[in-house]
Amino acid sequence: MKPAAVVNTGLLARRSLAAIALLLALGVAPLATAPAFAEEVPSPGAGTSPTGEVSPTGEVTPTGEVSPTGEVTPTDEASPPAPGPGSGSEAPELSPSPDAPTTLEEPAPSEPAEASEPPAPTFTASGAIGAKWLGMGGAAGVLGEPISKEYCAESGLCQQKFEGGLIYWTGADGAHTVLSKTGHTGPAFFTGGGLAVFGYPVGDETTVPGGTLQKFSSGKLLVWNGTEVFRIWSRGAIGGFWAALGSTAGLGVPLSNETCGLRNGGCYQSFSRGTIYWSPATGARFVRGAIQTRWKSVGAQDSVMGYPVTSEICGQPASGCLQRFQGGNIYWSPGSGVWVVRGAIGGQYAAAGANRGLLLYPLSNEKCAGGKCIQNFQGGFIGWEGHAGTRIYSKGTECQKLNNGKSKFPTYGANRVLLTVARDYKVSRSTSIYCKSLAGTYVPDWKTDSYVGASGFKPPGVPSGPTRYLFSPTGSFSVTEAFGLGNPGTKLAYRTLNPRSRWGGNPWTPTYNKYFESSSWVGWDENMWYFATRSTHDYRQGVVINYNRPNIVQNAGFAIFLHMNKVPTAGCISLDDWAVLDYIRKSAPGDRIIMGTYRDLFR
């Protein structure tokens, strides 16, 4: 056997002192390898040192292979051909003898201590470790002087301690440095548990975009992001996914360690360009940018959205992206922003082709109120009304003007608004659009043709006058009551007509513009029974439009109704029978009818 180490003193006594000092500096860790240690530190494999083969028993053959870099010593003193970093394995048996080569020890948590009194022995470095040391500037470099001899374990892992860190060597991975005083990952290595936690380095700390990175044999990486050092477990789902995405070139440097304990056993790790979330059910996916911001704004994995089930999928129409989550999807495009689509509305959206269909991209999250929900898309709305399910609504009707401030007349928050619009004055033919509010947004329930007064509309504020002039009033009017020959089912007050049913049309009488009953038919009064039962059954079903009531101005107009018999009227709105019935069945007190010419109603 050759001498265990190449030392420049050659004095056995000094070697013994140095070994003692080194053990003290190492914190006198147990010489026997702890089970945990053995488990944590992956074997470097066949322990072929760069300068000498390690026998199955751990002995270094004296005639072993020469290191690629040859023998290295910081001094001029000649030394025998170095067996390389395997010199420490010369005495593989663990011995407390300070003179014997020691087993591989866990470095002290803090920086390697300096040997003090008695005067520190001097060491040299040789073989691959020595070459590495010299390559880093030798004693004048960041590592400074060696402060231990080289130690090797049976596993083939060798190490040597320097003032500024350690160099580890294995046959498989070569020699790599862990700096204790400089750099970023090295100090974190020592404070984070060192060899037992990280294993030995399989690379030096290297510069990467956004910081530095060092890889260790355990699969752990230490990455400095310019501010802090975080760990990445490259063999874990998150670290593996990060690596698959291109490591630092992909999601960038870490901004946190992996953190677990999330809902349903989830974990996450933040990186400079996104965050990877993992859960047992969904695997590892990344979220980033606007989609991540939106996901978090709705409660992230703790919300109904749950974990991502895909990563971001870009290349969508209009340069958009989408990401699917357990409870819905998030869509983004430059022209629409970033919004969640989920639940029943999400199902309808998907059935309509989602962002590749006519609805294009969402412009809002869904809004819900009063048991109804609605979501705004570029190409329309999707509404949800409980048992009625979902429905797609067009934006191409005048109902939209009730949403965007282009209606000159207020809705007063009505749940439903009938818009009856003529293209101009003196025009009786009109269009009626039945708008309903879903969570505050008006959408068209239906649209149909209709008629108003045969003379058309009077301008806003101008009384329509006696019905014999056949004008309709312009304005926004409430509805509170309906009438006819039998209640079809309505929330409005409903009056069933009889042969005495009249509507007062004679001004300056107590019944003007009011319902009353009489056995006579006088003057301008309307015989509602007559109009309900004549062949055209105008009033078989009808609704009172609260024009000139309840505050009645005499002779300003009366009996403005919505009724059947779709023909030009004396001032009323006439619709097809189905429309009148549907209107009555769906209306409630407080609903409104906004009627007039297009120019008078809309900006």
């Binding site: 042969p499 009227t569 004396a570």
Partner: protein
């Protein structure tokens, strides 16, 4: 209502005539509402109330109840019946 007629004279005055027939077993009070309209505009109207005993009939009429320009217009009666008081 049988044999009903509603006609305009050359001066635009309208006359309605008809016969109420009660073929039920109880006395009925009939109300005949008749109006002449041109489009939506009511040109005139009349309301006739007549009680007819079971198995009997009664002629009813309304003269000059509406005026129009010329003879254009639509005249339509509506009859309702209630048990006589």
């Amino acid at each position: 209502m049988r044999n009903q007629s509603c006609t305009a004279a050359s001066d635009g005055s309208w006359t309605f005539k008809g016969t109420l027939v009660n073929d039920t077993g109880v006395a009925k009070t009939y109300t005949v509402a008749v109006a002449v309209t041109i489009g939506a505009a009511v040109q005139g109207h009349a309301l006739i109330t007549e009680t007819v005993q079971p198995g009997k009939s009664a002629d009813v009429s309304a003269k000059d109840f509406a005026h129009t320009t010329g003879q254009a217009g639509s005249c339509e009666p509506v009859v309702s019946a209630e048990d006589a008081q």
